[in-house]
């Protein structure tokens, strides 16, 4: 079996991805910022930094700190806001020729819906990823994502204004039962689910006895969270996604093709690479190649055969 005969394309809620690897929100800018390091056209897709209705300045620094096999971030959803995104970034996105998902964050249901409404007519955008799970904002973020009623509410509000766009909800991991949240999103009209987002965590400077981050806490990402992500993706796949026919975009510490394959076997139809891009900006491209090689080695003619194939 040669690499050429292997089909690693994915039908993700009606969107065709050339391969199952996307770059995760918050790790690849708004459009083509990674262009110096990777051929963006080779990616399966791209997810923008979280956009809010109004620009957000973000938290004071330090905004990040490294941990063992991970890092904390408390960026504070710093972003240029919807107006500037439309003015400056959409023209670039229109030239990108790969599926682009816009990640939306907000402090109220109305804000999410308003952003979706403005972007819904834009053909260059394949879909929205709702950031209901960002743990860095004191209002809005975590409050939505841990409450299934609020998740259904915000999902259905955006569904009304999102037109034909794919609606993906990004789940927070630190909840009692993530399947409850997944179900709430699907009930609200989500046609895809992405998980996991980061875990709220803390690093303390023992000399000053203060948290290292200005925001005190931050979201933990990177290889440290990968085994938890694999478990939760498999859980949501078995308990919600499979029976409801909703694809999962899996993420959380992926660095290599082997990591990506784990997520796919666990139940992800596609994967997103985040923190690893900071270290190796071309790693998404390397992962795509590695997935092809895995399929060749294991006589997998179509990547679909692997999705949720955990024995």
């Amino acid at each position: 079996m040669t690499d050429q005969t292997i089909d690693i394309s994915v039908d993700f809620a009606g969107i065709r991805l050339a391969n199952p690897v996307l770059t995760a929100s918050g790790t690849c800018g708004y459009a083509d910022e990674l262009g110096d390091f990777v051929d963006i056209k080779s990616l399966g897709g791209f997810i923008t930094k979280s956009i809010t209705l109004k620009p957000r300045k973000g938290h004071p620094t330090p905004r990040i700190v490294e941990t063992d096999s991970g890092m904390l971030n408390a960026i504070g959803l710093a972003n240029i806001g919807l107006d500037k995104f439309i003015e400056e970034k959409l023209p670039v996105i229109r030239e990108m020729s790969i599926p682009v998902f816009v990640n939306i964050a907000g402090e109220t249901v109305e804000e999410y819906a308003a952003v979706a409404e403005r972007l819904a007519p834009e053909k260059a955008i394949a879909g929205f990823e709702l950031n209901v799970s960002c743990p860095n904002v004191t209002r809005g973020g975590i409050a939505f994502g841990i409450d299934p009623i609020l998740v259904t509410e915000v999902t259905s509000a955006v569904k009304k204004t999102a037109g034909e766009k794919v609606l993906m909800v990004k789940l927070p991991p630190a909840v009692t039962d993530i399947s409850v949240i997944a179900r709430a999103a699907v009930d609200g009209g989500a046609n895809a689910i992405s998980l996991i987002n980061t875990f709220t965590a803390m690093v303390i400077d023992i000399e000053s006895r203060r948290p290292v981050l200005a925001n005190r806490t931050g979201g933990l990402s990177g290889p440290a969270i990968k085994p938890i992500a694999v478990y939760l993706i498999n859980k949501v796949y078995q308990e919600v996604a499979k029976e409801r026919g909703v694809p999962i975009l899996g993420m959380g510490g992926i660095r290599t093709a082997s990591d990506a394959i784990e997520f796919i076997i666990a139940g992800a139809s596609a994967v997103a690479v985040g923190t690893a891009t900071f270290i190796e900006p071309g790693c998404a491209a390397k992962i795509i190649e590695g997935i092809r090689q895995y399929c060749a080695r294991h006589n997998v003619a179509n990547i679909k055969e692997l999705v949720g194939s955990l024995l």
């Binding site: 790790t27 910022e33 110096d36 051929d39 971030n73 960026i75 710093a78 900071f278 190796e280 071309g282």
Partner: protein, 327 residues
Amino acid sequence: MKTCFEGGNQAIMAQQSSSNRGAFNAVVTSNRQVGQRLYRLRLEFSGAGAEPFSKLKPGQFAQLDVSGTALPPVEKIPEDLRDPCSRKILLRRPFSFTDVETQGNKTFVDLLYRIVGPASVRMTTLSAGNMLGIIGPLGNGFWVPQGKKKALLTMGGMGAPPLLHLAKVLSVSYPDIEFTAFAGAKTVRELPFEGRLDEISQELGFALREFAKYGAQSQMATDDGTAGFHGPVTECLSQWLTTSTWARDTTIIYSCGPEAMLAKVAEIARDKGIDCQTSMEQMMACGFGVCQSCAVLCRVSGSNETVYKLCCEDGPVFDSREVVFSS
């Protein structure tokens, strides 16, 4: 444009090749201790990285991947760093450079590093022939405005290396600019120079060899008085400004060092009406503009508002009037 791999030095080339930065591999040519907890690392780019790094400007930086570098045996690790060294390295580390040299189609870069944590401790085990992943050149670097005749290079602690590089560039490309270096540290053993303060020549008097070789005056300052001026380097600079001849419009200050020092230099520059470029530092995850970690608070001209700029993309060198210092 396709992804391509080029021989031993891998480069993933992308559509905007005009941007002159990328992810490359460099080979260690030497790594030697030059002071207390201070090392000098020399790297060679002989493939795709040679050309971009040959254009490295003073004040630009690169992101080094030392996650695969081994720890030294525990006895060689300073006791106070043993616990921090127990964890793995994930992210790259930003370093500025102290020298750039091209030889044929190869580019050599030097960097000075002090042992402060798990990554720098690992770097001490690098030896000739080891390969290191390097992303760069990154950032803007110092710039030389038109019409300057005097440059005052003001550095504190490990702020010195990029200003040493600037000294070289000034001496080669801007021979009309007379420059003086002001180098400070808490104590003499923390001055990041190999050369000692020696009487170099009648002309230059006592000077640091590193600056004397570019024909420049230099002054040392130590907080504890163990060498040179007794006090912060900012006071040394102030005194020089009081006793020396200089003209406001044709003088420029370049500063690099701890933020408290940068804030004080900015204040001096503002009071005297002198142009000043300050090299800022912030924790970075990526170093190339996507993570939004390295925010520098800046004034918006013509308003009371402030905005965050990125140290890695908009800096690390800023006009000091723009920066809202945290101290």
